[in-house]
């Protein structure tokens, strides 16, 4: 557990953990809305589109101050998002194509600018590469302050406009009929998503930041049906994935930060998909199994009763195969269920017979039609 102790004593490690937690919380909370509004892939376009903004901000200002680069990223990401919307609104090119074009073309232009910057190579100018796959270890205190301030603004705006965003997410038409400026709210929520994305770029990188928007929200969705709970859970999941991924990558050698954080988020999603109560796959399988067993038990009970009738004796035992001939192949589960309830018992080997309680139950079920 030395890593936990280091967390409190090692200054660098603490900065890394705080930064990763901030990005996870902000991306998780705002990503929840994106997931619910089927805009999961908008984040992908926005984050890729941010790259030329970072490069241009550096080329123009010559500074690597976090606020400058983040502002460049936000402006470019924002322009990319607006372009997607403009193309969809004015032409017949569909949403998916518009996203694909913006993300790949902006990213390509960003790479061109990065290679130009690299060619100028004096040592101080290198280091924008960390925005590709992220580098938690490069986080400094001033980065942390920028991230926390921007993230705080985004979260505060979400809390202030909670009711409006909720309406926008679930029933925008109703919202419009109530007189809310739905279009303006849409633009604002998208702008907050852009902020959430640029906050994480230095840690996770433009290539994979979109996963931090989608994964915590998609995971949190499995555990609850309430928006408030979902947003808080997503923020917690985002922080968990961010911190664990960032710590692993800064402790182990040659573990790029962005991919490690994304893998951690992937694990959270898989666990949620399988284990979340009620919605989760394991729960669903269990419920299916129980249903099938109960149905099988009903069929087997009636079958045993009919067979017993033909032989005039309740205790006449029948081979499982004979029952299966009428009750179907899954008869074994049904018979076991009957035995558990004390309605049938195994007589010898593979033969089964009704108990008196089972006979009573069968007659009750068959009722007057018996």
């Amino acid at each position: 557990m030395s890593i936990v102790r280091d967390l409190f004593t090692d200054h660098t490690l603490r900065t890394v953990a705080l930064g990763a937690a901030t990005l996870g919380i902000v991306a998780g909370a705002l990503g929840s809305f994106a997931v619910l509004r089927r805009q999961s892939l908008l984040g992908d376009a926005t984050s890729h589109a941010a790259l030329p903004g970072i490069a241009l901000a550096f080329l123009v200002s010559g500074s690597k101050a976090p606020l400058t680069l983040v502002l460049g990223a936000a402006v470019a990401g924002w322009i990319g998002t607006l372009l997607v919307m403009a193309v969809v609104r004015t032409t017949r090119v569909k949403y998916d194509s518009a996203l694909g074009i913006v993300l790949s073309v902006f990213f390509g232009v960003g790479l061109v600018l990065l290679t130009i910057i690299q060619k100028r190579a004096d040592a101080a100018q290198a280091g924008l590469d960390r925005f590709l796959f992220g580098q938690a270890a490069s986080l400094l205190e001033r980065d942390l302050i920028t991230m926390a301030a921007l993230g705080g603004i985004a979260l505060a705006a979400t809390v202030l406009l909670w009711k409006e965003f909720k309406l926008l997410t679930f029933d925008p038409d109703f919202g419009a009929s109530l007189g809310f400026a739905v279009r303006r709210l849409d633009v604002l929520l998208t702008a907050l998503l852009v902020i959430a994305i640029v906050v994480g770029l230095q840690t996770v990188g433009v290539v994979l930041m979109s996963a931090m928007v989608v994964a915590p929200g998609a995971a949190a969705r499995q555990w609850t049906d309430r928006l408030g709970v979902m947003v808080v859970l997503a923020a917690a999941f985002g922080a968990l994935a961010g911190v664990s991924g960032a710590l692993v990558s800064s402790e182990a050698s040659r573990m790029p930060t962005g991919p490690t954080i994304v893998l951690a988020a992937g694990v959270v999603v898989i666990v949620s998909l399988f284990l979340a109560p009620r919605r989760g796959l394991v729960w669903r399988w269990l419920a299916d199994y129980r249903n099938r067993r109960r149905l099988g038990a009903g069929v087997a009970l009636v079958d045993l009763y009919r067979l017993a009738e033909q032989h005039d004796t309740l205790r006449h035992a029948h081979e499982e195969a004979a029952i299966a001939a009428t009750a179907g192949a899954r008869v074994r589960h049904g018979l076991e269920e009957l035995a558990e309830r004390g309605w049938a018992e195994r007589v010898d080997g593979d033969a089964w017979a009704l108990t008196p309680a089972g006979r009573a139950e069968a007659e009750r079920r068959l009722g007057g039609t018996g």
Binding site: S40, S97, L111, K119, V214, A215, R254
Partner: protein, 369 residues
């Protein structure tokens, strides 16, 4: 131009053409982002296959890695079918995780693999001429040239052979099913094609920029034509044009070739977006403007017709009167009158307006309509 430069351009053109063809169907079938998912998710497949065959242009690697693409498609569908997440989230969850695994593999085994993160993002087009394809001791050109020719031939064959099926499944999936064509076969065939093409193109332009060559040229072509064969041809032309233009742009800027190619494809789309003859922004704006004036001139003609021969006709047909009756401000009214005169709808007689025969016909037709 040196021989390697020519070879690089030939490879770039082949990559662009091979990408544009399946891209047309992705754009039409609203599956553009599947190409994004596949091209990212291929990475772990490429890395693992590379461990085994150690040659990026080996057909074995192409097939092995391309199967990861199909796995991605299956995973997305599996996830969607649980109904726990929607399709967009399913795509957004699967490919970053697979891509992350690929990047981590490359970073951890950087010493053993002749692949690095730069190659993943930028491709290695500039080095492609160094890897020669040697048959029986004869150097017959760069391996990538042969590989991409093979993939392009595969794409052309697939589209020619299944043209009817692809067309029907794309534009009327229900009818295709009713006629007994299997949409699943067409779908997975197309996905396999996209995967193989993306693996081939990976070498040249890297993981992410494949998307630019697959989507931007077909989307631009989509704005220029309504006919599928024309769209296929235009997309190929625009793709090849972007590749060659991008190459020289990179040469001039001394920057990444793959990035410039994506940028050039973006420029091609932007030009179509602005200037396409019928669907471009400029012609849309011009059409709206023309409609606005034509509407006003029509309103003027109707106004004049309704008062023709009535006692107040003299009053109603004075230009100054228009701003009261039709609520037009004087400048606007003057422009409408000038336009109507130019079209021969009205004539000026001593300061008041009179309909011409043509103007009367237009007004009558508008009223009836």
């Amino acid at each position: 131009m040196t021989a390697p430069q020519l070879e690089i351009q030939a490879i770039a053109a082949l990559v662009a053409a091979a990408c544009a063809l399946p891209g047309v169907f992705l754009v039409l079938r609203r599956m553009a982002l599947i190409s994004d998912a596949i091209s990212h998710a291929l990475l772990p497949g490429i890395v693992l296959a590379f461990f085994l065959v150690e040659d990026l242009t080996s057909p074995l690697l192409v097939v092995g890695a391309a199967s990861t693409g199909l796995v991605t498609v299956l995973l997305v569908e599996l996830l969607k079918r649980t109904e726990l997440v929607r399709e967009d989230a399913a795509i957004g969850l699967v490919f970053p995780v697979l891509f992350s695994i690929g990047v981590i593999l490359i970073t951890r085994f950087a010493g053993d693999v002749h692949l690095d993160v730069d190659a993943v993002l930028l491709g290695e087009l500039a080095f492609a001429p160094f890897d020669r394809f040697v048959v029986a001791g004869y150097d017959v050109g760069p391996s990538a040239l042969w590989l991409m020719s093979g993939i392009l031939a595969l794409n052309v064959t697939f589209i020619v052979l299944l043209y009817k099926e692809l067309k029907l499944a794309t534009f009327d999936a229900a009818l295709a099913t009713a006629l007994g064509l299997s949409p699943a076969l067409v779908h997975y065939g197309l996905m396999a094609l996209v995967s193989v093409t993306a693996v081939g193109a990976f070498d040249a332009v890297g993981s992410i920029l494949v998307v630019a060559l697959m989507i931007a040229p077909p989307a631009a072509a989509y704005l220029l034509t309504d006919r599928l064969p024309v769209m296929l041809g235009l997309a190929t032309l625009l793709g090849v044009g972007s590749a060659l233009g991008g190459y020289w742009l990179a040469h001039w800027l001394d920057a990444s070739i793959a990035g410039s190619m994506a940028g050039a494809a973006g420029i091609a789309f932007a030009l179509a977006f602005l200037l396409a003859p019928e669907r471009g922004l400029v012609s849309l704006a011009r059409r709206r403007l023309r409609q606005r004036w034509e509407f006003a001139q029509g309103a003027l003609a109707i106004h004049l017709m309704q008062h023709e021969g009535s006692p107040e006709a003299a009053e109603e047909s004075r230009i100054e009167h228009l701003n009261r009756h039709l609520r037009w401000d004087p400048d606007f009214a003057a422009r409408v009158v000038r336009g109507a005169q130019r079209r021969g709808l009205v004539a000026r007689v001593d300061g008041s307006l009179a309909l011409t025969d043509r103007g009367r016909a237009v007004a009558r037709e508008l009223v009836v309509r």
